[in-house]
Amino acid sequence: MRVHRNLQRLGALGLSLALGWWLWQGVTISPFQGITGPAARYIHGTARDTGAANVVAAILFDYRGFDTLGEASVIYTTVCGVALLFAKRRYRRSSHGLSFIVKRGMALLVPFILLYASSIIVMGHLSPGGGFQGGAVMATVTVLFCVIYGSSFEAARVSPKVKETIESSGALLFTAIGLIGLVTGGAFLTNSAAGFPRGMMGHLVSGGTIPLLNIAVGMKVGAGLSTLFYSMVKILEDPTESSPPEV
C-alpha cells in the first residue's frame, strides 16, 4: 500500500510539473507599449461616460455590468442551493454563544462595522470598494452574531425571511435598473444615456446608476452570504433553546 501511495504522489507531481511547464511556456511577457484594446477606452472614457472616479467600479457596474449581474447570481444560486441542502426542520440547534464580555463588546462594535460596510458600498464608485466587498463585510456582522450569541439569537435578531426578502429585492432592483435602460429606448443596463444624472466626478452623487447598482449588489451579497453562513452553521451547536422559524 505504501509503494502505491508514493507512486501516486510521484505521478501527481509529474503531471502538475508538466502542466506548469506548459503554462509557463505560454506566458508572453512583451515590453510595455501602452494599454491596447477596450482597457484604453475605459481609462480615457470613464470620466466622460460615467462620471465615476473608480475605473474598476465603472467597468464592473457600467461597461460590463452584465457580468456583474451574472456574478451576483452565482452567489444567489449558491446561497439558494446550500439553503436547499440544509433545509431540514430537524437541523435547528443553537448554542449559548461565548462569554458575557465578548457579547457586550460585540454590541458596541456592531454599529461601526455596519457603518464601515455601508461606506464601502456607497463610496464604491469613488474609492476602491463596491457592492461585493461592502456586502461581504455586512455578512460578517451576522457571522459574528452566530458565533458570539448563537445561531438562534441571530435568527431571532435578523429573521431568515427578512434576509430572503432583502436578497431577492436586491436582485430585482439590479434587474429593474437594467430594464429601465431598456424601456427608455437604449440597451439593457444603459447608464447616462438613460437619463441617470452623471453628476460631478468625485462627488457622492455621481456616476449615474453605479451607486444604485452597488447598493443592489450589496443587499444581494450581504443577505446572501449571511443566509449561507446561517444555514451551514445552524446544525453545529447542541439543542437547548427553542427553534427559530424554518428557512
Binding site: 508572453t28 477596450p38 460590463r64 451574472g70 444560486t77 431577492s168 435602460g181 431598456l182 437604449g186 440597451a187
Partner: protein
C-alpha cells in the same frame, strides 16, 4: 424582441419566486408555471426574431458585452426552451410546488443556458457557464436525503470546478496575448498571438469544454450525475445541459480555433471516437436502467463531438440535427424509465419484467425512443447518423465513421435488454401504479417531435434551416462582420 430579454425573463422568475414564498405562499405554484410559459415564449420570440446583435449598455461591441443571435443560436434557443418547458412540467408533476428553492435553481439554470447561447463575449460566457454549473450541481443533488445524489453532485462539482478553472486559464491567456475579449474581435486577433500562447488558449478551452460536455477525459461525472438525479432533472441534464456545452464547443471551435489551428479538429475527432466507443461499451454492461441511459448519453455526446470534428458545414448540420434528435429521444427515455422504475420501485433491469401489460403506452414510447437513438432506419436517429456519415466521409475520417456505424449495432443490443425485460413475464405484480397524466402528455409530445424530426430532411423549411445553420456557423467571417459593423 431584444435578445437580452431571453436571459432577463428567467432571472426575474428566479428572483421573484422567493418573494412569492415569503409573502404569498399559495401563489408559488401558479407563479412557477406562469414564469415557465413566459420564459419559453420570450426565448422563442427572440429565436424567431432572427439575426440580431445588441450590446449591453449601448456601447460599441469592443467596449461592452455583445449578445449575438444567428442561426446556430436560434436552433439552440429553440432546443433549450423545448427541453426546459418539458422538464419543468414533468418536475411540477413529480415534485409539486413544495420545494420552491428547486424551481429558483431551475430558472437560474434556464437563464444561464440562454446566456451561454446568446453571449458574444468570452468572459461573459465563463460567468454564465459558472451559474449554469453551480445550478446543475445543486439540481443534481436535489433530494438531500438520497446519498447517491449528494455524492454525484459532489463529484460533478469537483470536475466542473476544475473545468471552470481551465476555461478561466484559457480566457486569461487569450486576454494576456491580445487584450480583447469579444469573440468576434478575438477571432480576428488571436491567430496573430505567439504560437505557445495559442496552444495554451486552445488547449485549455477545449479541455474545459470537454469536461462541461462530458467527452472522454471529463466524462466520469456524467453517468453518476444523470442516473442519481431525479427523473425530470436527469431528463433535463441529458436533454439540454449537455447540448449547451456542445453549443459552446461548436461556437468556439469554428470562431476561435478554426482560424488559429486546424489540429483542434483532429483532437475533436480523436476524443469523440473514444467517447463514443467508451459510452457504448460501458452502457452494454449496466444493470441499472438510468445508468444505461446515462452512458448512452456519453456515447451520443461522442457522436456530436465527431460531427463537430468534421469541420465542415455538413458536420455542423449533423451535430445540430443530432442534438435535437438526442434531446427529444433521451428526454422521453428518461421520463418513461423514471415512471417505470417508480412503478417497480427498483431501477434494476432484471426486475422490470412484465411492464408492457402494466403501462403499454409508456413501453411503446420507450421502444420508439430507443429505436430512434439506436438509429433504426425510418426514424430521426438514422437520418442524423446519415448526415454525420456523409460529413465524416467528406473529411475522410474513416475510423470515427466506422465507430458511429458500429455504435448503431451496439446501442441496438443494449437497448434491447430493457425492452425484452418489459415484454417478458412478470414474477410479481408491480407495487405502485400512480397516474402520470402530465408526464404521459410530455412523452407523447416528445414522440411526436421525434416523428417530425424524422421527416425533417423532407420538410422544406426544416431542411433549409438546418443547412443554413451549418453554412452560417462555418463561415466565421460573416459572424465577425455582422458583430463589428
Amino acid at each position: 424582441m431584444n435578445p437580452v430579454l431571453a436571459i432577463v425573463a428567467p432571472f426575474l422568475a428566479a428572483f421573484t419566486i422567493p418573494l412569492f414564498f415569503v409573502f404569498r405562499k399559495k401563489w408559488v405554484g401558479t407563479a412557477v408555471i406562469l414564469f415557465g410559459v413566459l420564459s419559453a415564449l420570450t426565448a422563442l420570440f427572440v429565436a424567431a426574431g432572427g439575426e440580431a446583435v445588441t450590446v449591453m449598455g449601448g456601447w460599441q461591441p469592443e467596449v461592452g458585452i455583445a449578445l449575438v443571435v444567428d442561426s446556430l443560436t436560434t436552433a439552440f434557443l429553440i432546443l433549450a426552451s423545448l427541453g426546459f418547458s418539458a422538464s419543468l412540467s414533468a418536475a411540477a408533476e413529480t415534485f409539486g410546488y413544495g420545494p420552491w428553492r428547486f424551481y429558483v435553481l431551475f430558472f437560474l439554470s434556464w437563464a444561464a443556458t440562454n446566456g451561454i447561447i446568446l453571449t458574444g463575449d468570452l468572459f461573459n460566457l465563463f460567468v454564465f457557464f459558472e451559474i449554469f454549473s453551480v445550478a446543475a450541481y445543486l439540481v443534481v443533488a436535489y433530494p438531500p436525503r438520497s446519498w447517491q445524489a449528494i455524492e454525484a453532485g459532489f463529484k460533478y462539482l469537483i470536475f466542473g470546478t476544475v473545468g471552470a478553472l481551465f476555461l478561466l486559464i484559457g480566457i486569461a491567456y487569450a486576454f494576456m496575448a491580445t487584450g480583447q475579449l469579444n469573440m468576434a474581435i478575438l477571432a480576428r486577433v488571436l491567430p496573430r498571438a505567439p504560437e505557445a500562447t495559442l496552444s495554451v488558449v486552445i488547449g485549455c478551452l477545449v479541455v474545459g469544454l470537454f469536461i462541461k460536455s462530458g467527452t472522454v477525459p471529463g466524462h466520469f461525472w456524467l453517468p453518476d450525475a444523470h442516473s442519481s438525479a431525479q427523473t425530470p432533472v436527469s431528463a433535463l441534464l441529458s436533454g439540454v445541459f449537455v447540448k449547451v456545452s456542445l453549443y459552446a464547443l461548436i461556437r468556439l471551435a469554428f470562431l476561435l480555433f478554426g482560424s488559429a489551428d486546424d489540429r483542434v479538429f483532429f483532437v475533436l475527432l480523436l476524443f469523440g471516437t473514444v467517447t463514443l466507443c467508451l459510452g457504448h461499451l460501458m452502457a452494454f454492461q449496466q444493470e441499472d436502467i438510468k445508468r444505461l441511459l446515462a452512458y448512452s448519453t456519453v456515447a451520443q455526446v461522442g457522436t456530436i463531438v465527431i460531427a463537430i470534428g468534421c469541420a465542415s458545414s455538413g458536420g455542423v448540420t449533423a451535430a445540430v440535427y443530432h442534438a435535437f434528435n438526442h434531446m427529444a429521444a433521451k428526454m422521453g427515455l428518461f421520463l418513461v424509465s423514471g415512471v417505470l422504475a417508480e412503478d417497480r420501485a427498483s431501477r434494476d433491469i432484471a426486475q422490470m419484467g412484465g411492464l408492457f401489460r402494466h403501462r403499454p403506452l409508456f413501453v411503446l414510447a420507450f421502444c420508439l425512443f430507443a429505436a430512434s437513438i439506436a438509429g433504426i432506419p425510418p426514424l430521426n436517429g438514422f437520418m442524423s447518423k446519415w448526415f454525420l456519415l456523409v460529413a465524416a466521409a467528406e473529411r475522410g475520417a474513416l475510423i470515427p465513421a466506422a465507430a458511429v456505424v458500429a455504435g448503431t449495432v451496439l446501442s441496438a443490443a443494449y437497448y434491447l435488454r430493457p425492452i425484452t425485460a418489459f415484454f417478458g413475464p412478470a414474477e410479481t405484480e408491480p407495487p405502485h401504479h400512480r397516474p402520470h397524466p402530465v408526464t404521459g402528455a410530455i412523452v407523447a409530445l416528445l414522440a411526436l417531435l421525434c416523428l417530425v424530426l424524422a421527416l425533417a430532411p423532407y420538410i422544406g423549411p426544416l431542411k433549409e434551416g438546418l443547412l443554413a445553420v451549418g453554412r452560417d456557423t462555418v463561415n466565421g467571417a460573416r459572424y465577425i462582420e455582422r458583430v463589428l459593423r
